[in-house]
Amino acid sequence: MPTIDLAKDDLRALNQQLQTAARAVAEAQSNETQWRIDNPRGSHAIAVGLDGPIAVTVGGSTGYYCAGMNKEASITVEGSAGPGVAENMMSGTVVIEGDASQYAGATGRGGLLVVKGNAASRCGISMKGIDIVVHGNIGHMSAFMAQSGTLVVCGDAGDALGDSLYEARLFVRGSVKSLGADCVEKEMRPEYLELLADLLERAGADARPEEFRRYGSARQLYTFNIDNASSY
């Protein structure tokens, strides 16, 4: 397994090397699929823009924007991640063994983000198709303006969960400090238990689907209401 030591090697060179490796595997020109990065020491933008099915293990904590724009790759951080981890992910899997800072998974369009610790504020802000599973708690304003995808929280959620929500599905096992504008609790139906069971298993989360409550959009904010016609 190729190992890159960030105590010695340059970050830009690292990303170039990983991006090239990911493309080569995607185009069946290489079978070098397992990569390791040592001494990340909180550096920014580690393993960003990967576009191919390689697996990258980061041996420590990362700074801003780790695993951003990920496509197909599996990235595991053996520590905590700074702000904006897996931002705008398209597909693939990102696993954070520790905690994630604010706006984890922001604007993500696909793939699975797993945070084994807690996630801070604005987790899944403006998510557009990504699935996010947080084993611990999430902070305030999470899933703000979330459009589609699924956010699963095994712990508690902070203030204003799902404010200005579109069609993303939110599941919380613990308490919700407060719901944001236009976010309401909804009935848990069999198809959601099935969806949850699958996501929890893929995320290695020790929780039962029946323990969760479902939240979603009341659809009052983003749909036109005929009673307001005279205001326009």
Binding site: G63, G82, S121, G139
Partner: protein, 298 residues
């Protein structure tokens, strides 16, 4: 952006290394703000004296014979130790008030950076590494300290606009963010007789905390009060003679990471600032909660 670092020692055996550790942490944060940098160090040895740190544009002229002038003017002995554009004037605590008013009235070529029994503030325009080298921060020992590297938003890039700001003896504050009600709050505080010297938003926050503490609140309570009275974005790190506090506004956009071991409590705008601290791999590392006052005392 701006970058903040702070270090509060619980284990005195690290005291000789305080300046070195703090300085390394601040240099790591250089790309969060290249405009100016500053460090407040709370020295381990206070020896019953009082210190006034002053800054001069023309230190050679301003500091020459200054100690003799001040001793003669106040009638009590004053000594001076110059470091580049800054000098620490030491005197007896009961001479401090007279000395400070004399400096303000008769020495327009000097700016007072800090006053107190333990704290010295060094700050200048420039990069953290240059500022740290210039003032030999790496060689300073102490119990706790706070550093800041600035990307200016609310006032000009000058020495006086650099952080940390001090508005009371042994009190200092650094700030990442921007306050939107600082002008009205500055006017209110000035009407109450509070001295504020710059157009900077952070100085108003520092003065507000000093004012609340003068009214009998402790630092923790004053920080609680600021959640109601300050409008804007902030991550604050504050120091007092024996204490170290952290507060983020309720929105908490401005980043903050803390680490605690048996030997220290450390603050960084990013985890990068903390990675070289001893025992960091085994430290408890967390992000301070929004609108939650954190405070440690020796």
């Amino acid at each position: 952006m701006c970058g903040i670092v702070g270090l509060f020692l619980k284990d005195d055996s690290l005291s000789p290394r305080l300046g070195g550790m703090l300085s390394d942490m601040l240099v790591t944060m250089t790309d969060r703000g290249p405009d100016s940098a500053g460090i407040a160090v709370y020295g381990a040895e206070t020896s019953g004296g009082f210190k006034i740190t002053v800054q001069a544009e023309d230190p050679e002229t301003a500091f020459a014979q200054l100690a003799e002038h001040l001793s003669a003017a106040t009638g009590q002995p004053c000594s001076l130790a110059a470091k580049s554009t800054h000098a620490v004037i030491s005197t007896a605590p009961d001479n401090a008030a007279a000395l400070i008013s004399h400096l303000r009235e008769s020495h327009s070529d000097l700016r007072i950076m800090s006053t107190g029994e333990a704290m010295e503030i060094y700050k200048e325009v420039g990069l953290p590494r240059d500022v740290s080298t210039r003032f030999e921060i790496g060689a300073m020992g102490g119990t706790h300290g706070i550093g800041h590297t600035r990307m200016a938003t609310e006032s000009a890039v000058t020495t006086m606009g650099a952080h940390p700001f001090s508005t009371g003896a042994d009190q200092c504050l650094v700030h990442n963010g921007s306050l939107s009600n600082h002008n009205s709050l500055r006017r209110k505080l000035q009407r109450e007789g509070v001295r504020i010297e710059t157009e900077n938003d952070t100085e108003v926050a520092a003065a507000y905390l000093t004012y609340r503490m003068q009214q009998g609140r402790n630092l923790g309570q004053a920080l609680e009060d600021s959640l109601d009275d300050l409008d804007g974005f902030f991550t604050f790190v504050v120091g007092t003679k024996n204490g170290f506090g952290v507060l983020r506004d309720p929105i908490a956009c401005k980043p903050a990471v803390m680490a605690e071991t048996d030997a220290y409590v450390a603050f960084g705008s990013e985890y990068r600032a903390l990675v070289s601290l001893p025992g960091i791999d085994a430290a408890r590392v967390w992000e301070p909660e929004p609108a939650n006052v954190y405070f440690w005392e020796r």
